[in-house]
C-alpha cells in the first residue's frame, strides 16, 4: 500500500524534531575460545577476535543510517564476562587485559566496550576474585571499558559477601578517579537478575547462553513519545496508554528494520530488540518530562510511580508486537544525570533517593547515574546495593545500581560528567549506619518466589 503524504511527514518530523534515533547497535562477541595459559597469547587472541569481528561495525552502521535516514548514535561491543577467561591470571594481568579491551575499542572507534564482568550471585570463583581486585585500577586506567557485576538473582538470593566487596570497590574507584569527578564509577553496574543480551551500556555483556557473535539493537525515543502525548492533552489514562503504545510500536519497527539490515550486511545473526526508552540531555528527550506530561507538576511527586508504571507497560505492549525478538532490559531507563527532567526534579526537591528506589519497582533497571555525597561509606553503598537487589530478587526483575560517590562533593553541589553522561546534583545519603548488616556477610537465601518447579 502506498505511503500517505502525512505518514511521510510524520516520520520526518520524528527524526528531525523529536530525536527518534537508534540509540545503539551492539555486537556481542564470545571470547570463550580465547583462554590460554600464556597470558600474552590470551591478550593477542582477545584483541584479534574483537577487531576482526567488529572491523566493519562502525562503517556499516553509518552507511545504513545514511540510507534510511535514521541516525544510529552508538556502535558498541559486548564480550563474554572476562572473569570466565582469566584462568590463573594475576591482578596485574587482569588490569592489562582491560587495557587491551580499551585498545581494541579505540582502534574500532567504538565509545564503550562492555563485559569486564563477573557473575558472582552465588559464589566467587578464582577468576572472579582476580577481576574484582583489578576493577578499581582497570576502571581508572581505561577510558572505554565498562564493567557489570551480578551479585543477586531470584534463583540464588543475594550474595552479601559480593555486595560488601562492591561497596569497597565503588569507593576505591571513586577515589582513584577523584580528579575527574569520580567518573570511573559511571562505568560500573551492580546487577540483580542481569540479562545476557542487554545492548545498553554500562551493563552490556555477552552472556553464556549466547552464540559466537550476535547483533542487538536498542532504540530510543522519549522525545517522540512526549510529542505524541502533547497532541492529546485531554485524553484519559486509557487514551494516554494507547498513544504511548502506538508510538512505541512505530519506534520499534524502525529499530528492528535498521538492526536487521545492519546485521545482514555484517553477516551476523540478529539478536534482540531492546524496547527501553532511554533519555538524553537533548531538549525534550526526557523520560521525566513524559511523566510530567501525563500529569505531574514535577517528577518525584505523589503519583510518579503510577505514571511510570502506566508508561513502562504501554511501551512494552506496543513494542512487543513490533519486534520478533524482544529482549535485553526492555523498560524505561531513569538515569538521573542523562535526563534533564530528572535533574530538575532533584534540584527542585521533588525527587529524592527513596522515591527513585520506589520507581525502580515498576520500571526497568534501577538506581542509574546518581551522584552521591562523596563521604558515603562503603558499607552505605553496599546497603544501597542490597536494597536494590532485594527489590529485583523479590519482584523477579532486573535491578541495577550505578551510583557515583563524588569525592569532595556534598549534597546540593552540581557535578558535570560531560558528554553522554551529563550532569547531576549530588544527593545525600541516610546518615544512620548499615555497617552491621553488611559485616554479617553470608547470603540472603533465595526467596520463596524461586521455588517454581
Amino acid at each position: 500500500m502506498a505511503i500517505a503524504f502525512t505518514e511521510i511527514q510524520e516520520t520526518i518530523r520524528m527524526v528531525e524534531m523529536e530525536h527518534l534515533d537508534i540509540r545503539t547497535v551492539t555486537m556481542g562477541i564470545s571470547l570463550r575460545d580465547c583462554g590460554d595459559p600464556d597470558f600474552n597469547k590470551l591478550k593477542e587472541k582477545v584483541f584479534h577476535k574483537i577487531t576482526t569481528y567488529a572491523k566493519d561495525l562502525q562503517a556499516t552502521a553509518n552507511q545504513v543510517a545514511e540510507e534510511y535516514g535514521v541516525p544510529i548514535i552508538n556502535k558498541r561491543i559486548a564480550v563474554s564476562p572476562i572473569a570466565e577467561i582469566l584462568g590463573n591470571a594475576t591482578k596485574e594481568q587482569a588490569i592489562d587485559l582491560a587495557k587491551t579491551l580499551d585498545e581494541a575499542a579505540k582502534q574500532l572507534n567504538i565509545d564503550f566496550i562492555g563485559g569486564y564482568s563477573a557473575l558472582i550471585h552465588k559464589g566467587i570463583a578464582k577468576g572472579d576474585q582476580v577481576l574484582l581486585d583489578a576493577l578499581p585500577d582497570a576502571l581508572s586506567q581505561t577510558e572505554r571499558v565498562c564493567s557489570s557485576i551480578s551479585v543477586a538473582t531470584t534463583r540464588t538470593g543475594i550474595n552479601m559477601d559480593a555486595v560488601a566487596q562492591m561497596g569497597q570497590i565503588i569507593k576505591k574507584t571513586a577515589h582513584l578517579t577523584a580528579d575527574q569527578n569520580s567518573i570511573g564509577c559511571a562505568k560500573l553496574v551492580v546487577f540483580c537478575n542481569p540479562v545476557e543480551d542487554n545492548p545498553f551500556m554500562a551493563g552490556a555483556f555477552h552472556g553464556t547462553g549466547e552464540g559466537e557473535v550476535v547483533l542487538s539493537v536498542g532504540v530510543s525515543g522519549p522525545g517522540v513519545v512526549l510529542n505524541a502525548l502533547k497532541r492529546y492533552p485531554d485524553a484519559d489514562l486509557g487514551g494516554v496508554s494507547d498513544v504511548i503504545k502506538k508510538t512505541a510500536f512505530k519506534i520499534t519497527r524502525a529499530g528492528e528494520l535498521i538492526g536487521r539490515v545492519v546485521a545482514e550486511r555484517l553477516n551476523v545473526p540478529f539478536g534482540i530488540m531492546d524496547l527501553s526508552l532511554a533519555p538524553t540531555n537533548a531538549m525534550n528527550d526526557s523520560v521525566a518530562e513524559i511523566l510530567e506530561e501525563i500529569g505531574l507538576e514535577r517528577v518525584g511527586t505523589h503519583g510518579t510511580i503510577a505514571a511510570l508504571a502506566l508508561m513502562n507497560d504501554a511501551v512494552k505492549k506496543g513494542g512487543s508486537m513490533a519486534s520478533s525478538y524482544v529482549g535485553g532490559l526492555s523498560g524505561a531507563f531513569i538515569p538521573v544525570s542523562e535526563d534533564n527532567g530528572m535533574i530538575r526534579g532533584i534540584e527542585d526537591g521533588a525527587l529524592t533517593l527513596p522515591k527513585l528506589e520506589a520507581m525502580t519497582c515498576v520500571c526497568s533497571v534501577g538506581l542509574d547515574m546518581i551522584a552521591l555525597d562523596g563521604d558515603a561509606s562503603p558499607e552505605t553503598l553496599s546497603a544501597i546495593i542490597a536494597d536494590e537487589a532485594a527489590i529485583g530478587m523479590i519482584n523477579k526483575k532486573t535491578t541495577a545500581v550505578r551510583v557515583i560517590p563524588v569525592i569532595g562533593k556534598k549534597a546540593g553541589d552540581i557535578v558535570e560528567f560531560g558528554g553522554l553522561l551529563g550532569r547531576a546534583p549530588i544527593i545525600g545519603v541516610n546518615h544512620f549506619s548499615s555497617d552491621k548488616l553488611i559485616q554479617r556477610g553470608g547470603r540472603i537465601p533465595a526467596p520463596i518466589q524461586a521455588l517454581t518447579n
Binding site: A2, I3, F5, I8, E66, A254
Partner: protein, 90 residues
Amino acid sequence: MQKRAVVSVVGKDQVGIIAKVTTILADNKVNISDISQTILQDFFTMIMIIDINDPNKLSELKQKFEPVEKDLGLKINIQLEDVFQAIHRV
C-alpha cells in the same frame, strides 16, 4: 536491486524550488514515480518517490542537493522507502 526512496524537501516557499530539485534528479537519470506538494503557512513541503537501483547513489544525490539546499535555504532528505513501510504498515 530496484528500490524506492523518498525525497522530502522542506523550506520557505519561493520561485523555482521544484524546477531546481527535479533538474538534479533528471541530470542524474533518476525517475520520479510520484510527487506531491503542499504549502502550510508559507512552508513549502514536497515529497517525491524515486526509483533507485544502487543504494550508494543516495549519498551521491545528497551531495548534489547540497548547493540547492544552501541557495534556497531548503532541507532535503533522502531515505529508502522501507523505513516508512516498517513504521506505518503492519
